[in-house]
């Protein structure tokens, strides 16, 4: 029998529905375009620069002639981010543990969480400014710009990320686990380190990896804390190069070869960050808590 009894809805409503849904899908497609373009350009412009020599030579800083490679930048990024991680993770984790295991619900915890939230919103350049004022201008450690000062700025950046994500994961650990440990007579510290942390470890590692990925890509805080320098530095008290700073320095250059260096460095940086991000997601997916 026919569908006559169901007066069909007006053509206008049909049209609006189709248009709206099409519009939403279209905008979603639009959102994907920049990523595709950036990846394409990175590969197109940067692959040409990649070679073994690229990673094993320092930038020469010479305007004409051989521009060199990016060795000092890679080394600098690894060193500075490494130091920053070594500081930010224990501190960030410590604060998260305190928030969940010791201070939960207290007024102080509210204040701490509020300040951590504030920190997540602070622009990275302001962190650089902090370090600049307190460490660089004052010449702390006998130097003005130094790698470890850059690390400090990065650590400040990473701290709220580590704390936030660790707190979320620690809260996900079922209380029943803690209570089981207490019931067996375990003291607080043993429960935290032997029961809670191991359970939360994948989630914590995920958060740490994401924080590292974030720190590796930051330029602004390094500009006036570690400065930019061409030679590979292994002493944290010296100025240190970094991938983002190198890229930034070479963007405005009129010399094509320097620009290619910049693209190659950018490709390297994005590859590093992508690997860290993918690793983090992989661990997160296999975690029992998520």
């Amino acid at each position: 029998m026919s569908a006559v009894a169901f007066a069909p809805i007006s053509a206008r409503r049909r049209r609006v529905d189709k248009l709206a849904r099409g519009g939403v899908a279209l905008l979603t497609g639009v959102a994907l375009v920049p990523l595709a373009l950036i990846l394409y350009y990175l590969l197109k412009q940067g692959l040409g620069a990649i070679s073994v020599r690229f990673f094993t030579t320092d930038p020469t800083g010479a305007f004409l002639g051989d521009p060199g490679g990016i060795k000092s930048a890679v080394v600098g990024t690894v060193l500075m981010v490494g130091l920053a991680t070594a500081v930010a993770v224990p501190v960030g984790l410590g604060v998260a543990i305190w928030l969940v295991e010791f201070g939960r619900g207290s007024k102080l915890a509210h204040a701490v969480r509020y300040f951590i939230d504030v920190m997540t919103g602070v622009p990275s350049i302001v962190f650089g400014l902090f370090v600049y004022i307190t460490l660089v201008l004052a010449g702390v450690g006998g130097s003005s710009f130094a790698g470890w000062k850059g690390s400090t700025a990065l650590a400040l950046l990473m701290l709220p990320i580590v704390t936030r994500s660790a707190e979320v994961v620690l809260l996900l650990v079922p209380n029943a686990l803690r209570e089981a440990a207490y019931a067996l007579g375990a003291p607080r510290w043993k429960t935290v380190f032997r029961v809670v942390l191991p359970t939360a470890l994948p989630g914590i590692v995920t958060g740490v990896l994401l924080a590292i990925a974030r720190a590796a890509g930051e330029t602004a805080p390094l500009l006036f804390t570690a400065a930019v320098v061409n030679a590979t530095a292994l002493n944290f008290n010296d100025r240190m190069n970094s991938l983002p700073a190198l890229i930034f320095q070479n963007v405005g250059q009129a010399q094509d070869r320097l620009v290619t260096i910049a693209w190659g460095a950018a490709l390297t940086l994005v590859a590093m960050i992508l690997m860290l991000t993918l690793l983090a997601r992989l661990i997160q997916r296999r975690s029992r808590l998520s």
């Binding site: 809805i9 409503r13 609006v16 529905d17 939403v24 899908a25 905008l27 979603t28 959102a31 994907l32 990523l35 373009l37 950036i38 350009y41 990175l42 501190v91 410590g94 604060v95 305190w98 928030l99 010791f102 102080l108 701490v112 300040f115 951590i116 939230d117 504030v118 919103g121 602070v122 622009p123 990275s124 350049i125 302001v126 400014l129 902090f130 004022i133 307190t134 207490y182 067996l184 007579g185 003291p187 607080r188 510290w189 590796a216 890509g217 930051e218 330029t219 602004a220 500009l223 006036f224 983002p244 890229i247 963007v251 693209w263 950018a266 940086l269 994005v270 960050i273 991000t277 997601r281």
Partner: protein, 329 residues
């Protein structure tokens, strides 16, 4: 909450007490971590105070009012009016919101409500991948690709729509619009992620109520999903705004760094964050210049504080749901 060991080692003393030595690690841990957490608060407060102190020279010499309202930023002449910087920050952020938030909400809607199930996961990953690109790479791409490619289109637009205020006039390569566009792309992942979360929590019963009344899919979204989610979406937008305000490197590479207030969105400008990154080198030897840059950082800090506070409030309220107290039956 500290459990005493019943089966205590060696049976020394009462089975229900631990020796002070055994309790030590717990106390060390507790007080150590408390000190750490307090230390973090102290650190932030200290930095804030330091920012204020170090920027005082410019406030005493130039005056807070002049600093915030004068449009003349000429360090050579010791003129420090931050209005072009503040204006540039606000203009680029506004463009970023106008361009970015609709797209972010659209992706969130599409992923949660409209997309076929199988592509939801991959689509989410791709949208979130935008967050993995560091800002300097955005700047690099913007500088070499966006600026030249967009210029003809911008020129056409400025001519065709010159009746719209702030559109007509000359078009420079680097300009507010390109900066705003790049910012829009950068805030997309966070705004989309938060919107997705909020849209996913719309209770099924409201969606079903709309559908059962004879609503099309889009009408259902308009009736049941968007009104419910709008608080959280606004919160996500604010968080994106906070991010846009503070973004330095990508902006400074594409905005032209001209300390003026451009007459159209297709002209050069400057932002608070960009000026700090660009001029601190020359300011190293000029204390007043340095103080003015630090003051710019202070203004930036305060701006992001306010925006993020609003954002947090919105997201919190959205999470708590809407349950006004029941009226008398």
């Amino acid at each position: 909450m500290e459990a005493g060991t019943i089966a205590s080692a060696g049976g020394r003393g009462s089975a229900l007490h631990r020796s002070p030595a055994a309790r030590l690690p717990d106390r060390v841990l507790r007080w150590g971590l408390t000190a750490l957490s307090l230390g973090v608060i102290a650190l932030i407060a200290f930095f804030f105070v330091k920012l204020i102190l170090e920027s005082r020279p410019v406030f005493s010499q130039v005056g807070l009012g002049t600093y915030l309202t004068s449009a003349d930023w000429v360090p050579n002449k010791a003129l420090y009016g931050a209005l072009p910087l503040i204006a540039g920050t606000l203009i680029t952020s506004a463009i970023a919101l106008v361009l970015g938030i609709p797209v972010a909400v659209a992706t969130a809607l599409y992923i949660t409500e409209l997309a076929p199930r199988r592509i939801r996961g991959p689509l989410t990953i791709v949208v979130d991948l935008l967050a993995a690109v560091p800002s300097v790479v955005y700047g690099l791409w913007g500088f070499f690709f966006l600026i030249p490619k967009l210029q003809p289109a911008e020129r056409w637009f400025a001519d065709a729509f010159s009746f719209i205020p702030f559109v007509g006039g000359t078009v420079t390569g680097p300009n507010y619009f390109v900066a705003g566009l790049i910012l829009a792309i950068m805030i997309l992942p966070i705004a989309s992620a938060i919107s997705r979360e909020v849209i996913a929590t719309v209770p099924r019963e409201h969606k079903e109520a709309a559908l059962a009344l004879g609503a099309t899919r889009w009408e259902m979204i308009r009736m049941a999903v968007l009104p419910y989610a709008r608080g959280g979406i606004a919160g996500g937008a604010m968080l994106g705004l906070g991010r846009a305000i503070g973004e330095t490197i990508a902006v400074t590479l594409v905005i032209g760094n001209a300390p003026v207030i451009g007459h159209s969105i297709f002209q050069q400008g400057y932002t608070l964050a960009a000026v700090i990154a660009n001029e601190f080198g020359e300011a190293a030897s000029d204390p007043l210049h340095r103080a003015s840059l630090i003051a710019a950082g202070l203004v930036l800090f305060v701006l992001t504080l306010c925006v993020n506070a609003v954002a947090r409030g919105l997201v919190l309220r959205a999470e708590r749901g809407r349950r006004p107290p029941e009226m008398a039956a």
